[in-house]
Symmetry: C2
Subunit: 201 residues, 2 copies
């Protein structure tokens, strides 16, 4: 080896992160060694601070600094509307649309029979509690439209069927906007036909 | 914003690194928040330690922990053979061939008339001193074969012409191994014709 041990150490740590290969990792170390001390120090401090200060929101499971997340702290949000997602990255995707003004419930997982993940691991009692306490009017289930997401949605729908006056919905599946019918897979196209909607004129 | 300030802060710092866009930066933060505390702590410590402990080799300008780099400390290396490169990443490229057993001299730059970088900024007195002191027999100039690299090579060759008994060479330019003539640019092909060599049989 022609580079110092510390170089190889840091490069290996970068290379263990998702989307960073060994060459990109080396390039990052080359770059950082060329930066001022305080910039590297700031990155190290941000890493430790983020890890120390960010936890899960006590109410919805989103990332939060402090007790409640930014979404739950926002008093302009509709507390009677809940959206159930598998992961925080799904919440992030929905927030980026700007089209949703309710609150969230992050499962941090999904029912997955192959990996032996059952409903007990998904904070579902907390979901039922929230619905009763906050008198939630609608729960939108936004689990992924695949096998595990579908059975998770079905489980939650059955669980909530016992609660009166709460409407349970699922985000629509169908042909993505801007795409071509000829490229849609048969499952998506079948769903799009089955879930056809009346044309408003 | 629906994510904590610390999240955005760390993501922005990742996004300022080469080859990491805003989406990849967010994905890195999501990933790291999901890892054990001590793994994130270790990454932060490696960053600070690398920056603190790695400096330039006093002799050749490579990265070094301590006074001399791994190459200069290697007593099996030929001290009478020097290779001049622009940057440490060029040294890394040559080391990876495994075909070179001499020492290096890293310029940390190149003569660049447009950016007003002259020979005074390139540690060239140190190069001349080394050649005299270590009785170097050959200096291989491995600056890049582009405009700035060419004038840097020419300058160094003239500077060393005053020193007796040192052979000054330049790495060959030509058609890359494994490539096709039809895809070579005209400058490379012209050089390859001019610098043709006798076929050994």
């Amino acid at each position: 080896m022609f580079l110092p041990r510390r170089f190889a150490e840091l490069s290996a740590q970068f290379a263990s992160l998702p989307g960073i290969g060994p060459k990109a990792a080396d390039r990052l170390v080359f770059y950082l060694l060329d930066q001022p001390d305080d910039q590297v120090q700031a990155l190290a401090e941000s890493l430790v601070a983020a890890k120390r200060e960010i936890a899960f929101c006590r109410r919805c499971g989103n990332f939060a600094q402090g007790d409640l997340c930014e979404v739950c702290r926002d008093t302009s949000r509709d507390v009677k509307l809940l959206c159930v997602v598998e992961e925080i990255r799904d919440l992030a995707a929905i927030e980026k649309t700007g089209a949703y003004r309710g609150l969230y419930h992050v499962l941090h997982g999904r029912i997955d029979p192959i990996s032996r993940v059952g409903p007990a691991e998904l904070q579902l009692e907390r979901l039922a509690e929230r619905i009763s306490r906050d008198q939630v009017g609608e729960v939108i289930i936004a689990t992924n439209p695949n096998f595990n997401g579908d059975i998770t949605a079905m489980y939650i729908a059955k669980l909530l069927a016992g609660l009166p006056q709460v409407r349970v919905t699922r985000i629509a599946t169908g042909i993505p906007k801007g795409s071509d019918l000829e490229f849609a897979d048969i499952f998506t196209l079948t769903q799009a036909l089955e879930k056809r909607t009346d044309v408003q004129v």
